[in-house]
Amino acid sequence: MESILKTRELTIDFGGQAAVSGVSLEVPKHQFQSIIGPNGAGKTTLFNLLSGQLQPTHGTILFKETDITHLSPPLRTRMGMGRSFQITNVFPNLTVLENVRLAVQSSAGVRFNFFSALSRFKQFEEEAVHYLKSVMLDGKRDSLAKHLAHGEKRKLEIAMLLALKPELLLLDEPTAGISIEEVPAILDVLRGIKEQGDKTILLIEHKMDMVLDLSDSVTVLFNGKLLASGSPQDIMNNELVQSAYLGGLYDDAS
């Protein structure tokens, strides 16, 4: 199957400590792939490398057959890569609608306009409302983002991400810090995106049971290295993975 994202020997050193080392990953198009791993495995660091927040010490990243290793985050976004953050990351003093509208505006390529027709603006707003509806947040369109509950902020993030119309979504623990009652709502949103079938999703999760039934394939990261990769069923039965999670595995290199 054609792959949309490929990394080769991706490594980053923080003063001698390799947070991610030699990760070669391949994400096929229109797949739902999860990356799991215990705390400190380097999952978020790997994401920061993929989305350009960090520069790798060595290794390359290919996105849609183009080398993007040295592109800045905004340029990667414009190529069709959108990411959400583990720590909630919205514009606190803007309204919910404006948060999404900014994403719509970006994906429409309106960047440096001093003047714009009012009708165009209306169109952006309508589109933004559409994305808010898709995450069941349209009732809150005029509240300031900082007044939202935590789970609602996560949904807002997903709406902003969808509004960018990315081909590849990088989701960093979308259920982190959410109460157990709210988790199914978020998972429903993710399932909805998956069922549309036109997007590739790469998702980080700490709690592996959360995503097993959603994922097409699962990759396990441990101490910055790729430990195993395969279908959810394989990973569940993999002894190496079980010992990594139960703490029985010690990496000789570290």
């Binding site: 989305s51 927040q53 800045s72 985050p73 905004p74 340029l75 976004t77 414009r78 959108g82 990411r83 953050f85 990351n89 919205v90 514009f91 606190p92 003093n93 803007l94 404006e98 509208r101 900014l102 994403a103 505006q105 970006s106 994906s107 309106v110 960047r111 440096f112 306009n113 001093f114 003047f115 714009s116 603006f121 300031l144 902003m160 960018l164």
Partner: protein, 332 residues
């Protein structure tokens, strides 16, 4: 009822503008006209500073440098070349172009830095211009400055008063358009969360450079207008105090609201005038800056959103009746 009150608030600026337009017919005291003209000019200066501080979240300590470039451009051209109308336009153009170039270069060099490093560097650049104005005596006559003539048309205080009033209204409308444009919305996003703005696909540094050029150009025009009011220029236009005035006006008036600049400029200039005139009563009023310090501390503690910002919040609260339990406007 609510409709009526909203309507009156929308009407208020128009009433004020009409009163200001009628003012010279009621009282043509030269000093008041000059004071009001200065308020109009500083209002625009404060608005230009607010583009940086209130809309984009950039703290600059070098805004006086553009004000000074505009003032000196007018002074030097009028004095050295001639005081015709054409020369005045040329001088304004020179000021604007120079300010654009300087703000572009300073922006490119420094806007990638973290906020406090940027603030320090702009302070250094402004210092550079002060030194230049002091030492390049053949052109600037050093510290003492020099008086210069302006075209006859603007010599009449009433004419200049109207010119300054139109200048303020025009720039208020232009800057309001600018802040509400797609570009202006991105600036506010940068203020809120720079990293997130970048990950939405906006190249943050480009926006910061654009806004600093716009703010610099507007400030240069204000400097030119200020020079025309005084018909005199010296190094004080480059001084830290000029930047601090803009900062105070913006913060007291309310950051992130263009009205705030107007209110702040009016308050500060009037207070300045009033306090200095009280110097006859007690010598402490010579040191009016002490009272500004107190006022500033009070505003920051009690109305951190400034006058316009607090008013806006109050209106909104009235409209949507948010319970008073949770306040957004104070940090505690």
């Amino acid at each position: 009822m609510r409709m009526i009150s909203r309507y009156t608030i929308g009407l208020l600026p128009i009433v004020i503008i009409m009163l200001l337009a009628a003012y010279p017919f009621m009282n043509d005291s030269r000093s008041t006209l000059i004071l009001l003209s200065k308020i109009f000019i500083f209002a625009v200066f404060a608005m230009s500073y607010d583009l940086l501080l209130g809309y984009t979240g950039i703290v600059s300590f070098g805004h006086a440098m553009f004000f000074g470039i505009g003032a000196y451009a007018i002074g030097i051209v009028m004095y050295k070349i001639g005081d015709s109308m054409g020369m005045l336009l040329l001088a304004l153009l020179i000021g604007v172009v120079l300010a654009a170039i300087v703000s572009y270069i300073v922006g490119i060099l420094t806007l990638r830095l973290q906020s406090h490093f940027y603030a320090m560097l702009t302070l250094a650049f402004a210092g550079l211009f002060t030194v230049l104005a002091e030492k390049w005596r053949s052109i600037t006559k050093g510290n003492d400055g020099f008086p210069f003539p302006i075209p006859d048309f603007f010599r009449d205080r009433t004419t200049f008063y109207y010119f300054a009033l139109v200048f303020m209204i025009l720039f208020f409308l232009l800057l309001r358009r600018f802040t509400k444009s797609p570009l202006g919305r991105v600036l506010q996003a940068i203020r809120e969360n720079e990293q997130r703005t970048a990950s939405l696909g906006y190249q943050v540094v480009h926006y910061k450079v654009i806004v600093s050029v716009v703010a610099g150009v507007v400030a240069a025009l204000c400097g030119g207008m200020y020079g025309m009011t005084l018909r005199f220029v010296n190094t004080s236009v480059f001084s830290m105090n000029t930047t601090l005035d803009a900062l105070l006006m913006t913060i007291i008036g309310g950051i992130g609201t263009l009205y705030g600049g107007v209110i702040g400029a009016a308050l500060i200039e009037l207070a300045h005038e009033l306090l200095t005139s009280l110097a006859k009563v007690h010598p402490i009023f010579e040191r009016w800056i002490i009272f500004f310090g107190l006022l500033y501390i009070l505003v920051v503690m009690v109305f951190p959103l400034g006058i316009a910002g607090t008013f806006k919040l109050w209106l909104k609260r009235k409209k949507t009746s948010i319970p008073l339990g949770k306040r957004d406007d104070v940090p505690w």
